[in-house]
Structures are given as structure tokens and as C-alpha cells.
């Protein structure tokens, strides 16, 4: 871990402006992924800006009947929030399927979105990786790829995004609120927040330098039956091989998103529309254009079956 200076920020705008002035600066909140990566020198900030004091830790009702979740709301608190449990069950379930109790107590809403991939080649600094060093090459391609992406991949990167929460946020049509160093705020639809790897897998989100997430907003509840089905080898404390977030309505309509299959939560509008036609049609549309390896091709079958399981679970 490289040496760094440590400071506590007071307001979001000031934090953003401080970070923008120093390209080696990083925000730290829960720290559960950042410190992990700093120990391996995958992240090497020379200035840490502690944003925990920014009072972004409330969950409030919005004017249009939704919820505004402060960036610093801990995963445990978000999952346990009565309104979330009642109206956004898929989110509560996704959070509870992730990590461990200890990690959820620290990890924040914004930090969860900003998690970096768990690709083992990304984690080993002896291995070339386009995320760590743009242009270095991808070691995963041709290597151990059982957990890697099957959708939206590129020649440069086949990593997945590891978050469960983000998959639920995607199916809930959340928006990410930010403040830029110049004080300008904006709202980024979750669909546009995470990027596909393309030729720039190191650019993982739509955030600009210094831009700070202040909240994630959920539209007003859409009702329906919620389910989050996470498939993994180990029964707990493991990243998803495939996960399914779904909201189903009595009339057969609904929404579905997949985790563990791409560089971002995977949702296809046409697949949502096909829900009344059944699992086969939905999965064909969701998985269209998939590119697999011999080790991760099972994810296509698994996704289809997990989709069926999640829908059964939602209806139960």
C-alpha cells in the first residue's frame, strides 16, 4: 500500500472539488473494496478523502412517492429499512444475498455500485490486465473463465460486475445522484451508470473525475411480486455465478435483470416485454448475442433455469 494523506470532508461539493484537484485522490466510505485493492496496490491513491462525515446516511421519501437513499447508507440498514422491505423487496433480498454481515455493516450504497470486478487476473498484479494497465492485454481470455461474463464482453475484457445490489437497482430503475467538482448535480439512470468494457475496460462508470455519488433514488413502488435468486457454489459469502432480479405482476408482465453475466447488471427491454410469453422467450432475448467460453457456457443454461426459479419464487 502506498503512503497517502488522510482527510475528512465536510460537504459533498467540497469533497468533489478536493478530489478533482488531485488525480491521485480517492474517496473512502466503507472501504471494504478500496482497502482490499490498496493492499495489493491495484489502487494506489496518495490522498484519501473520507466522506463518512457528509451526512448522506438517510433514507427519505421523495416527492413522487419514491425513496432517496443516501450514498452512505450502509447495506445492512438499506436491507433492513421497513419501506425497502415492504415496497422494494428485490433490493432487500439482493443486499442480503451479498457479502457477509460484517461487510454489509460497513459497505455503503454508493460504494457497492463502485465495486470493482473480482476477476482473479485483475487481482494478481503479475498478470497483464487492461483494467489495471490500459493496453496491457487481458489474461483472463484464454485462461480460467468460469466466473466471467458472457454478455457485452469485448476483446479487451470479459470481467463481470460483482454487485448484487446493483442488479436490483437496475430492475427498480434507480437513478444515481451525483455532485461534480463545480457543484453541479446530476442524476444518472442506473442503466447508463455502469459501462460495458469495450476498448476502455478501465472506465467502469459514467462518473467524471472528482464526481461524488450523493444518493440513489428509487421511483415510487411498482408493486408486484419481488424475487432475487442468486446462484453460487457455496451457500453464502460468495459472488454470484448468475443472479436474477425480478418483479412480476399478476397479469404476467414484469421486469427482469441478470447479475454475474456482464460488466454491468444486464437488462433487456424486449425481454421484459416477453415475460408474459414465458421463460424461453425471455431468456432468448436476454441472452441474445452471448459469447461464451467452454468454462462459462453453462451460464446460459443456468440463467434460463435461474430465471424460472426466480419467477417461481416471486409467485410463491
Amino acid at each position: 500500500m502506498k503512503a497517502f494523506t488522510y482527510e475528512r470532508a465536510r460537504t459533498p461539493a467540497e469533497a468533489a472539488s478536493a478530489a478533482a484537484k488531485d488525480p491521485t485522490a480517492r474517496f473512502i466510505a466503507g472501504g471494504t473494496n478500496l482497502l482490499d485493492l490498496m493492499k495489493l496496490e491495484i489502487e494506489t491513491p496518495r490522498r484519501l478523502i473520507d466522506v463518512n462525515g457528509l451526512r448522506l446516511d438517510k433514507i427519505e421519501a421523495t416527492k413522487d412517492g419514491g425513496l432517496r437513499i443516501g450514498a452512505l447508507v450502509r447495506n445492512t440498514d438499506l436491507a433492513a429499512d421497513k419501506r425497502v422491505r415492504k415496497d422494494y423487496g428485490v433490493l432487500s433480498r439482493a443486499l442480503l444475498a451479498g457479502a457477509s454481515g460484517q461487510l454489509r455493516n460497513k459497505a455503503t450504497t454508493a460504494g457497492n455500485l463502485l465495486q470493482r470486478t473480482r476477476c482473479p487476473y485483475f487481482y494478481d498484479t503479475n498478470m497483464p490486465c487492461n483494467k489495471r494497465t490500459p493496453g496491457a492485454g487481458c489474461s483472463a481470455i484464454g485462461g480460467f473463465t468460469r466466473s466471467h461474463a458472457v454478455l457485452g464482453t469485448s476483446e479487451a475484457c470479459i470481467a463481470t460486475h460483482p454487485s448484487d445490489m446493483a442488479v436490483a437497482m437496475r430492475v427498480l430503475d434507480a437513478s444515481v445522484e451525483t455532485v461534480k467538482p463545480d457543484g453541479v448535480t446530476r442524476s444518472i439512470p442506473i442503466a447508463d451508470f455502469h459501462r460495458l468494457p469495450g476498448n476502455t475496460p478501465h472506465v467502469e462508470t459514467a462518473l467524471t473525475p472528482g464526481e461524488l455519488i450523493t444518493a440513489v433514488t428509487l421511483p415510487k413502488p411498482v408493486g408486484g411480486m419481488h424475487a432475487y435468486h442468486k446462484v453460487r457454489d457455496r451457500a453464502s459469502y460468495a459472488f454470484a455465478l448468475v443472479s436474477v432480479a425480478t418483479i412480476l405482476h399478476k397479469d404476467g408482465s414484469g421486469r427482469v435483470a441478470l447479475g454475474g453475466v456482464a460488466h454491468k447488471p444486464w437488462r433487456v427491454e424486449a425481454a421484459d416485454s416477453a415475460l408474459p410469453q414465458g421463460i424461453k422467450s425471455v431468456s432468448e432475448l436476454l441472452l441474445a448475442g452471448a459469447k461464451t467460453t467452454s468454462q462459462n457456457a453453462f451460464k446460459l443454461t443456468l440463467a434460463e433455469r435461474a430465471l424460472g426459479a426466480a419467477m417461481a419464487q416471486a409467485r410463491s
Binding site: 475528512r8 472501504g31 460497513k106 453464502s236
Partner: protein
């Protein structure tokens, strides 16, 4: 002046707000960096097992290393240093965390409880006694983390925090074997004492309820 009417405001917020006069409140530095590799030192004061402790630390020092190497409280263990095993579990302001993934300087004003704060050989905490009775440990290395975690787990269930296996998110929670197993899953025991650990915790909880899985 801090907004004391806001009940959700943590004590750290109050301290930060009270202490900060500049836009960015830097932790008081006692040494500055001459070269890019020179360590940055900062002071931090927190309570460990009820006792106030002030330390001047390299900013890189984790809470885990502050406890083990600086305060010589070696009951908290380093198993992986990456949040993948749970051996470093301590309770901070009533919540269990992985102390390996938390910087010590980020705990200004916090109340930290470690295994040493729960009990001692001649004055065992009920969980410690139950772990001995049920042989809920073997090599002992994950044990302090398991016990700290178990204490927090029972508090979480009491507080109504749901888990992955909670069948109905809107129901009251029960202490079932399934709930304990899921909630304790962030504490790996390679010796494989799990079955006994769950029995030990169940006994301290006053017995296990029958439950259905989600």
C-alpha cells in the same frame, strides 16, 4: 454548530462538524511527507473495551493492526487481511465489522469491543463458556471472530435485521439454526467446528426455534 436534533447523526458526524473550521478537516498530522513514499502519520483516539486509547499511526494502519501490533490486543486475528475470512471481526459502536478492511484513523471517537472485552479466562462471557462446552472451536484461530460475530448476530436478530434466509421480510425474526448459519457465514472455520458453534450460540440464545427457509 451541529444539528443535535437530527437523531440519525452519528457521534463522528458531530465531532467532525464541531472540529472542522476549514473546508476539509485534515486529521492532525504530526509529520509531513518529504518523499512520496514517506508515511503520513495521524492521531486517532477511540475507546477499546471501555478504555480510551490515543495512537499516532501511519495512515495505512488498519484497525486490525492497530489492535494487534500497537495495542497488543492479539485476540483479534489476521486470517486473510482482505475481508474473506472473518477472523478479524470486532464490534464497533455495536456493529460487527472486519477490522482488516477499516483504517484505524477512520475510527475517531468510536467504541470498539474485541474478544478481550467480552470476557477473560476467569470471567467468561456466556458465549465463550458455551463455545467451550460445545467444543465450538478447534485450533482457536477463528474463534475470537466467531464469538464477536455471534454476539452481534444475536443483537441483530433482536433488532429485527433480516437475513438471506429470513422467509418473510415483514415477519418477526426467530433464532433458528438456518438463521444462525447464514448470519455466521462471514466467519470461516477451516477446522470445521460449524455444527458445534451453532449449538453453542443457540444455547446462549435460549434455544433454537424451528424455522422454514426462504
Amino acid at each position: 454548530m451541529a444539528d443535535t436534533e437530527d437523531l440519525s447523526l452519528s457521534r463522528r458526524d458531530l465531532m467532525a462538524a464541531g472540529a472542522a473550521s476549514a473546508a476539509i478537516a485534515g486529521a492532525p498530522a504530526t509529520a509531513s511527507a518529504a518523499t512520496p513514499d514517506a508515511p503520513h502519520l495521524a492521531q486517532v483516539t477511540f475507546k477499546v473495551n471501555g478504555q480510551k486509547r490515543s495512537l499516532t499511526l501511519d495512515t495505512r494502519t488498519t484497525l486490525l493492526d492497530a489492535l494487534r501490533e500497537h495495542l497488543r490486543l492479539t485476540g483479534t486475528k489476521k486470517g486473510c487481511d482482505h475481508g474473506q475470512c472473518g477472523a478479524c471481526t470486532v464490534i464497533v459502536d455495536g456493529r460487527r465489522i472486519n477490522s482488516c478492511l477499516s483504517l484505524a484513523v477512520m475510527h475517531e471517537g468510536d467504541e470498539i469491543t474485541t474478544i478481550e472485552g467480552l470476557g477473560a479466562p476467569d470471567k467468561l462471557h456466556p458465549l465463550q463458556a458455551a463455545f467451550i462446552k460445545h467444543d465450538g472451536y478447534q485450533c482457536g484461530y477463528c474463534t475470537p471472530g466467531q464469538i464477536c460475530s455471534a454476539k452481534a448476530v444475536l443483537d441483530e436478530i433482536k433488532a429485527g435485521v433480516p437475513s438471506h434466509v429470513t422467509a418473510d421480510l415483514t415477519d418477526a425474526l426467530k433464532v433458528t439454526a438456518e438463521e444462525l448459519r447464514e448470519r455466521m457465514s462471514g466467519n470461516i472455520c477451516r477446522c470445521g467446528a460449524y455444527s458445534n458453534i451453532v449449538e453453542a450460540i443457540g444455547e446462549v440464545a435460549g434455544g433454537l426455534s424451528k424455522g422454514e427457509m426462504a
